[in-house]
Every structure is written in C-alpha cells, then in structure tokens.
C-alpha cells in the first residue's frame, strides 16, 4: 500500500489561516489522515445548543450561522472558516451553537490534534489566541445587543430568495406575484439584470390612484436603478441608506446579482433599539444642543463596538458614518437657516473620514467644492457664512477644529471645481516634497453632502493626473518613507521620549499613517477609485503591483496596529482619560508586543519596497 496522502484535503486546509501559515509542518499530513468529513444539510445543528464539543470544524463548503445561548444570531461563517475551537479551549463546553444555513461539507479535526498543534506550534496558537479574545468579546456582546446591527452583515437579514418579474409584465401580473409570495416589493429584471423595484406603495400611488390600466407594463411605474447594497455590507449601512433616501426596501446583490431584499420591517424585527439609532437620532435633531447631547454618547458607542469586538474596519466605518451624519445634519440645518445654496456645492471629507477609518478622537478635515457657476461677488458671502457656521458647530459636537486649518471655513479650501482641478494639477505636475507632506490628506477625498458629482469629477481628475505623472509618485513615495516604525536594533521598540509621552510611542504616526501612505501611493499608481485603505489594498493586489502575499501583509499589519490602538483608546476612556494614539509597550501583553513587532517589520519592509518601486529618474 502506498503512503496515503489526502492531497485534496490538505490543499483545501492550507489555503486558509492558520493552516496556510504552517503548511510546512510535517504533522499536518498525519492530522489530515484523522479528519472525518460530514455533509450537513441546510438547517441542521452541527453543535446543538449546550451540546459538548470535541471537534475542530473546518468549513470546506457551505455556510453556517453562530447563535448565542439566547439563540441570537452572532455571526455567519463561510467556506474556509474554523469553529468549535473556543469550546475546545474551554474544555469542551460550548456556549454557542452552530447551524448550517446552506448545505455544507465539514472537515472534522479531532480535538487531540487541535491541542497538539496549539501546544507545539506558536503560529497556530497565536491564531487562536487572538481569535479566542475575539470570541470572548463576541460572547459578551450577545448579552449586550446594542451594536449588533453595526456588526452583522446585511445578508443575515435576508429571509427569502428574491421575488422578481420581467419588466414587460403587466401591473396585474406583478401584483399577483406579490400577492402570491406575500411580499411588499418586487424586483424588476430585464434579461436577468436588475433594472428596477416596485413596492406596495408604488402600486397604490403610481398605478391605482392614477387610474392606470392593469395591462400597463410594470416598468412604467417602477423605480428605475434602485439603490442596492452588497451582501457584505453591514446592516447598519442599510439603515443609513434607508433613512437618507427615505426608502423602505433595498435590494441586496452579490457579484452583481440580486439575492434578496431588505425592508425596514426586517430591520425593526432584528433590532428594536440600538446605537444605530444614534444616527437616526442625529437626523431628528433640530438644535445644536440636541446634537451635542448625542455627541456625548459617542464614547459609549465606541467602547461598545470595541467590547463587541467589531474589527477596526467596522469601527472605522461606524464612526465615519456617525461623523458624516453630523456633517449632513448640520448642513441641512445651515441651509434652513441661511437659505438654499445659490449654486451647487459639495461638502467633502478629507483624510480618515474620507477613508471611512475614523476612530473616536478626530479633528475635522474638510473642504468645499463649489460649482464653476460660482461667482465670488455674488455667492462668496453665503458659502463663507455657511461653512463658518458648520465648522464651528462640528467643533461643538466634539470634532475639534483642524490645527492645520484644513477646513471648509478656510477660503483657501473653499473653491470652485476648476480651481481645485488646477490646484491638484499643480501639486501633481510640479511636486514639492514639503508641500505634499501637508497635502497628502487631499488625496483621500469623499463627497458627503450636496452635489457629489463635483467630488467625483475632482477625484477623476486626480487619478488621471497622478497616473500620468510618475515623478509625482516618486515624491509621494519619498514622503511615505518619512515616518519610520519605532523598531530599533534587536527589534526593540523605540520610544518617542518627550515629556509625558517618554515611555510611549505613537501608533498612528509610526504605524498606521505609514501604511496609509504606502497604500495611497500604490493606489494612485494603479488608478484605484477606492478611498478605504483595505479596499485600496484589494485593488492594488488585483493590479499586481506587489509581490504575492505582500498586499495581505499590509492589511494584516494595519489590522494588528489598528486593533491595539482602539483597544488602547478604549482602556484610556475607561480609565477616564482622553483617548489618544500613544501606547506604552509595558502595558501590552507579550503576544501583542510580538504582533506589533511583526506589523512594524512589515511596514519597514514595504517602505523599502516603495522606495525602489517608485524610484525617480535621478536616484
């Protein structure tokens, strides 16, 4: 008999963490030999509530949901994910239960192997060590449901496959389909592509009340090109979109195809109260006092998200959305107060808010792009008053005035589109290192209120210019190398060493900002339209700008440093201090220190890489 090697199984395991990290461990083949495989149909328990568990499960295909003790949905797991280890680490007692939501093929790894690898292989145990803390906090979250809409994907709200009709269908047949399936909305397709949506209300107001014939094509009364969301988006974003646009149904798409519809009813059912309502509260306020009182709740929201183990991406997303809600509401109030704008304008967020990576403590960085119809004599006063008022009120709501005065209230950053375009052309065509250092924030630019096409046009212009002028990228790359990670000889942490901060180093300055800078350079090089750093990394990876695996390294380093930063901020808040970006390495666990060193190491290497990648002609 030949040595039995189940290559399919090993290969499948080794495509995912932590096995991909330990693929060279000779024990893996022996482990694979003891794997058991189960095919589990939709809706069956894999770990039933309060059942003991002695298996580490790997999802080879399919999907499962994780439920808390109280049978609340905690999260959804897909192909390549592992579960069951938390109970193995706790001696077989499982506090959560797992149920298939698709037909699934599971690899069952005996506990003995999990324990063996956990004890013998540091990389393996680190993976679960981190994950264990994560689970612990998720478990805490399940008792504290305040934030679950913020952390659950919108796909988890779907309760049935999409119901649709062809655009040529009559109103009558569309209504029949809706009645038959008892749905309040119907997706309208043309050649299998989603082109519109019809709701109960449309039938009422656009068909019956108008006295349309039943034979009228449904496409006559549908809402064309409805707002859609991606299956990976958070439920909280769906709530936001519904409130912003005053719609009650949002089609959810996956890889461009509709997979269902989320309605306000689904959301209310999921969550009758919670901090998502913080955002709806913001839109309800009519006074600054009201907004201020909400802003005081934000540290609470932030710490809850951290406790609930939202990752940095989720937190950045949530905090940025909250920030954006403040901006929008203030602009609405300002327009009520000073009248509608005489010409279109767009209020733009810069930096972390544009990248949707805000944390708890942020200055405001913003600007105004005005339509080229702008005439200073006629309209100047209006925009001055408007932005002045908004920026001051933002300050009162906890978004401190920008120390560098990069704010819409500064006339320099309140310009018509053509002036902005000229400015950027100048910065890009004749780059000056010093100036660019201050200006890098403008390369993360997102329209948040008003005529967003203005921001879009500007972003397009920036991308075009940047790609055409490689000399500019050389400058940007050089700037991205300015801030070095705090690693000295023997991989010791180098402390910043000034006054109160003498025993600390700045995680943002020395870790997060360098990564953001590096990623921005690559993103500009490949013409990525994304602003969010992780999304940019995905584009960079797809464009093949980095050697294999390096893009993932960057994302990982960002998450590691980001996680320690928000943990640290949470601890500071709980200790009654002002949250900042300084961390004292003495307060870190050895695991955190190790992760941080690894992350900084990645940053250094990648800084070396961009130096070489975008080396100018002269050097």
């Amino acid at each position: 008999m030949m040595d039995v090697e189940l290559t399919e199984i090993l290969e499948a395991l080794c495509q995912h963490a932590p096995f991909n990290e330990i693929a060279d461990d000779p024990q893996l083949n022996d482990m694979a030999k003891e794997i058991e495989i189960r095919y589990v149909r939709t809706g069956e328990w894999v770990i039933a509530p309060s059942a003991p568990n002695s298996t580490l499960y790997f999802i080879r295909s399919g999907a499962l949901e994780v439920l808390s003790k109280e049978k609340k949905l905690i999260r959804r797991m897909n192909e390549g994910e592992l579960f069951g280890y938390y109970s193995l680490l706790r001696g077989g007692k499982s506090s959560q239960s797992m149920r298939t939501i698709e037909d699934s093929l599971l690899y069952c790894i005996p506990a003995r192997w999990f324990i063996k690898l956990y004890e013998e292989n540091d990389i393996f145990s680190d993976f679960f060590e981190l994950a264990r803390e994560v689970r612990l906090r998720i478990a805490m979250e399940s008792q504290n449901s305040d934030v679950s809409l913020m952390t659950c994907p919108v796909i988890s709200l779907l309760r049935r496959p999409p119901i649709s009709a062809d655009s040529h269908s009559s109103i009558l047949s569309a209504a029949k389909i809706m009645a038959e399936h008892r749905v309040s909305s119907l997706l309208i397709t043309e050649n299998d592509e989603l082109i519109g949506i019809v709701t109960d209300r449309d039938l009422r107001t656009r068909a019956v009340a108008e006295g349309l014939a039943y034979s009228t094509p449904i496409s006559d009364i549908m809402t064309r090109d409805p707002i859609v969301m991606d299956s990976g988006d958070y439920a909280s974003e769906a709530v936001l979109k519904m409130m912003e646009r005053n719609v009650h149904h949002i089609p959810i798409v996956k890889n461009g195809r509709p997979i269902g519809v989320v309605s306000t009813g689904d959301i209310i059912q999921k969550e009758s109260h919670g901090s998502v309502y913080l955002i709806s509260d913001i839109y309800k306020q009519t006074s600054i006092e009201g907004l201020q009182s909400i802003s005081r709740k934000m540290t609470h929201t932030f710490t809850q998200l951290v406790v609930a183990d939202a990752n940095t991406q989720m937190i950045g997303n949530a905090m940025s959305h909250i920030g954006t809600a403040f901006v929008k509401r203030l602009l609405q109030l300002a327009e009520e107060k000073y009248g509608p704008p005489p010409v279109p304008y767009c209020f733009i967020a810069l930096g972390s808010q544009a990248r949707e990576e805000q944390t708890i403590k942020t200055d405001q960085d913003n600007a105004l792009v005005i339509s080229d119809l702008y005439n200073k004599k006629q309209h100047g006063d209006y925009f001055e008053t408007l932005t002045d008022w908004v920026c001051k009120r933002l300050d009162q709501c906890g978004y401190d005035l920008c120390s560098g005065d990069i704010m819409a209230s500064n006339p320099r950053w309140r310009q018509p589109l053509s002036v902005w375009k000229n400015n950027f052309s100048g910065w890009i065509q004749q780059p000056k290192a010093e100036a660019l250092l201050r200006l890098s924030i403008f390369f993360d630019l997102r329209g948040v209120y008003g005529d967003k096409t203005l921001a879009k046009q500007l972003n397009q212009h920036i991308r075009q210019q940047a790609q055409q002028h490689s000399g500019f990228l050389t400058f940007m790359a050089r700037n991205a190398n300015q801030r070095k990670p705090p690693l000295g000889f023997f991989r010791q942490f180098v402390l910043d060493g000034e006054g109160e901060q003498s025993r600390t180093f700045n995680l943002k300055e020395r870790g997060i900002a360098p990564i953001i800078d590096i990623v921005r350079v690559h993103a500009l090089a490949c013409g990525s339209e994304k602003l969010n750093t992780l999304e940019r990394i995905a584009d960079i990876e797809a464009a093949g700008l980095l050697p294999d695996g390096r893009a993932k390294d960057l994302a990982l380093a960002l998450e590691m440093i980001g996680m320690i930063r928000i943990q640290n901020q949470k601890d500071q808040i709980e200790a009654g201090e002002e949250p900042n970006n300084h961390v004292n390495p003495e307060n870190l666990s050895s695991l955190e220190k190790r992760n941080l060193r690894d992350a900084f190491h990645i940053v250094s290497r990648q800084q070396e890489f961009i130096k070489f990648r975008y080396a100018g002609k002269r050097s």
Partner: protein, 238 residues
Amino acid sequence: MSQSFVKKIPQAKRQDWQAMYAEWAEEAPEGPLKRFYQAGIIAPQQLLKDTPLLALDLETTGLNPSTDEIISLGLIPFDHKIIRCKGARYWMAKPERSLNAESVTIHEITHTELAEAPRLEAILDEILSALTHKVIVVHCVAIERQFLLEASLKIYGYPLYFPVLDTMNIERQVTFKPWWQRFGKRPSLRLDACRQRYKLPRYKAHHALTDALSSAELLQAQIAYHMDPNADIASYWL
C-alpha cells in the same frame, strides 16, 4: 433541489447475495478469495444508516476491462453521516503492458511511479480483506465491478463479485424525467457534475483516492436528499 426519491428495490427483485456468497465460498479455490466469500456479507436487513460503507475508485490504463488494467485503487470507509480519512487506503499497481501517453495525461500517474509499484496480484489479497464486510460504493458500477472481476479471474481463476451502491445510478434516478418533461440535454451524470448539484466543492478528478472520497461525499448528499436511512440496505444495493 426537488425532492425525488430513489426507488427501493422491491423484495421480489432482490438478489439473494447471502445465498450466492455461500455458494461461491464453496466453489472458490482455496486462498484469499475463498476467505472473502466465507466471511459472508452484511445482512440484507441491515439499515442503511447502520451499514459500514466503503467508497472505491480505480484508475485503469483504458476503458476495456478485458484488455486494460488497474493501475491504482483508492478506498475510504464511511457511513451515512461520517467519512473517516483514517481508514483511507491507496495502492498503485504495475501493469503488465506499458502505459500509453493518453492515459498518463488523464490520471497523471507516470511510468516511473508505476515501475516501482508491485503487481496487482501482490496486493489484491490486501484489497480483498479491506472489502470484507463492507458495502462498496462506486460511481458507475459497470467499470469498477468489471475490472475487479477480470483481475480476480486472472489472478485467482475465479470471479470476484459483490453488491454495490452506485452513486451514478442513484443520480440517474433522481434526475430522470420522462421525455415529455425533458427540456434540452439530459443532466450530466459525471461525478463532478453530480457533486455540483449538491454544492459539493470541486476536486481534481482522476486520482483514485480523491475520486473515492468524492463519491463518498456524493452518497452522503444523496442520502440526505433522496434516500431513507431507515430502509434496509438491500433496498438500494445492486
């Protein structure tokens, strides 16, 4: 997926495998094959859910059982819920005639690998003892059973024959539609195509052990969808 059921074989049409095994145990020449038949067979009343199953797949030099030869064989034990990699086994066997280039490209087993492998007669004893007291599961009964029968005739001078669950046959039944309901092509019954209907992952085909694993997983899915785990095994075996 539609809920169609695999027809159970009615009592009258069932082969009496126990009686046949008893007869062959008498007739077969002394040796491993006789011992295989003497060991007997799983009782036909055994419930499907309690039956020890063994997925089997072999790779051959070609498709003709009388002229082509077995070059590798994979086995994996399982039941309707659990597949046990621990019992997985795999053999390669050196054929008497040399390989043609075409079959090498299919199963990717090379001359050098086979040159070092034993002849089938050296390992068939071992294979037989692995098959003892299991119900064999294959995808396409004609191939596997025929090749093993030919090999046994050549090596022991007496046929090897056993009941099987055939995942291809099961799939044929559940995808069958009379011609007036059929639209376009008949669904494919290839192993990979069958697996896709149950959303099972894509595997690289044509490795005897992987294919054995593939059909084991497929049968689990088929049982979950179309078969009655509480029926006796004789209602499904062929």
